[in-house]
């Protein structure tokens, strides 16, 4: 058996790079910067998510969606994350993402032109896993809040019905005030959430977590920030 703890899933890239909506318009994003070199990347006793936040905050235009390993039941204690340290010099964004996933074998990543998705490796071939579920068509009508977009996804998925929640403390999940209407075809829930999030702003990120019996999303319009010098 070949074990690939971390891999660049090129086959998934193109689904997000060039999604064509029902009006025939393309949703194309800025030129990829995954080969851009980072002079130094340091993570001390951090997790994959913390590394991802740090990397994205140091790379303009780098937005991401992160899917935590879900615990079995809502009442279960939190999943203990793997902690590790990295010091990488003059590596590309792609190589740093590889290193993050190699440090925590539970995760894999893939990327579109300006959006990185990191998700549990064990979920990759699971068609029942919520972010992998497929929508033949997603119609969005006059939404002014990301929750309305989540609701549209939940309502337009084929049976069985899925529970979704928006659970977050802090951060800014505000949406453009101009009502947004559009439609997309043949996409996964993950790709749909990428699109909902990108509409918030070019650096907007999302995080998925919770438990198998209570899944929740959080949205961050401005991405994440490096620690500023402070009081």
């Amino acid at each position: 058996m070949i074990f690939l703890p971390c891999r660049y899933l090129a086959g998934l890239v193109f689904a997000f790079v060039m999604l064509v909506n029902a009006n025939g318009q393309s949703e194309q994003h800025a030129t990829s910067s995954w080969n851009e070199r980072v002079p130094e990347f340091v993570l001390t006793d951090g997790t994959v998510l913390e590394g991802l936040k740090r990397l994205s905050s140091e790379q303009k235009g780098f937005a991401f969606g992160f899917e935590n390993v879900l615990r079995a039941k809502f009442s279960d204690p939190p999943v203990i994350d793997v902690r590790f340290s990295l010091r990488l010099k003059n590596k590309s964004v792609r190589e740093i993402l590889d290193a993050l996933c190699e440090a925590d074998h539970r995760y894999a990543w893939s990327a579109g032109d300006s959006f990185v998705n990191v998700y549990p490796l064990a979920s990759v071939d699971d068609s029942h896993y919520l972010p992998n579920r497929k929508l033949a068509k997603l119609e969005i009508r006059n939404i002014t809040d990301v929750e309305q977009g989540l609701l549209a996804i939940a309502q337009q998925l084929p049976s069985p019905a899925e529970q979704v929640a928006h659970v977050q403390l802090g951060g800014d999940a505000s949406y453009p005030s101009v009502p947004w209407s559009t439609s997309f075809e043949n996409l996964t829930v993950r790709e749909a959430v990428n699109l909902l999030t990108t509409h918030m702003g070019v650096r907007a990120c999302w995080i998925f977590g919770g438990s198998l019996d209570f899944r929740s999303f959080a949205f961050f319009r401005w991405g994440f920030h490096s620690e500023a010098q402070s009081d």
Partner: protein
């Protein structure tokens, strides 16, 4: 100061050799350099090329650079610019913006003013073959210090739970004034920390930023398409703008509701 109208940026000379500048809210005076000995009377000119604010913001957040910038136009062209602050640790960075034909001077400080207008920024321009010109701006170095917030209104649209978008207006010291809108503060980091870090109901924490109105939104949501299992925790939330604490809140989060209590500071 004839020939310079209020609200504009300008440069006027007086026969006595004193040079007057009027830039927005600040009027400054410098000695005019003497005429060149070659008798050409060639004297460089330096003026602001955009609104020059009488304040800068304290912090190292890179997004502050735009709000802390001054644009200069020196004539005749081709000369060299300098910039300095009366507070010597301040960092002054100069960049020529070719698309504007203006020199951009960004100031970074980690030291708050003691009193309003106590800091002087000095800019100079030395044309190749003319006498140098100087321009000054008295500013207040404002540090984010506290915030007020709007009312809480539940906007959960998934059927169960709650979702509050809390709009904060940050204020600064020493002036105790709100950061004005539309001064390029958007993108300035708003970071949040929680204690304890474990939060009920699976809450995920994150950061925000100032918007174009120099305000920020904080979202607290426990909102689901299906009933939310029982959960509860009380956490302290610290909000920082550009790295400086502006608010501490106590949040009791449960599946049925939120108890939100501000713990200041209020000024």
């Amino acid at each position: 100061m004839t020939g310079v109208s209020p609200g504009s940026s300008g440069f006027a000379t007086h026969a006595t050799g004193i040079v007057y500048h009027f830039n927005g809210n600040t009027c400054s005076v410098q000695s005019r350099p003497p005429l060149q000995s070659n008798g050409t009377g060639c004297v460089g000119n330096l003026a602001f090329g955009a609104t020059a604010e009488n304040f800068i913001f304290v912090g190292t957040d890179s997004a502050l650079a735009n709000a802390n910038s001054y644009f200069l136009r020196g004539t005749p062209s081709g000369g060299a610019y300098t910039g300095s602050s009366s507070n010597s640790p301040d960092a002054v960075t100069l960049t020529f913006v070719s698309s504007l034909g203006l020199e951009k001077v960004s100031v970074q400080t980690t030291t708050q003013s003691t009193t309003s207008g106590d800091r002087k920024l000095t800019f100079t321009y030395a044309p190749l073959s003319c006498q140098a010109a100087a321009l000054t701006q008295q500013v207040t170095a404002r540090q984010f210090a506290y915030a007020t917030n709007g009312a809480l209104s539940n906007t959960c649209s998934l059927g169960h739970g709650y979702h509050y978008d809390i709009l904060y207006t940050p204020y600064t010291h020493p002036d105790k004034a709100a950061a004005p809108p539309n001064i390029n503060l958007d993108g300035t980091g708003v970071t949040e920390t929680f204690s304890p870090t474990t939060i009920a109901c699976g809450g995920i924490t994150g950061d925000g930023a100032l918007d174009a109105n120099s305000q920020f939104s904080d979202h607290i949501a426990v909102c689901s398409t299906q009933p939310i299992p029982a959960c509860s925790s009380t956490n302290s939330q610290v909000l920082k703008v550009a790295g400086y604490t502006v608010r501490t809140n106590s949040l009791t989060i449960t599946n049925t509701g939120l108890t939100y209590t501000s713990q200041g500071p209020t000024q």
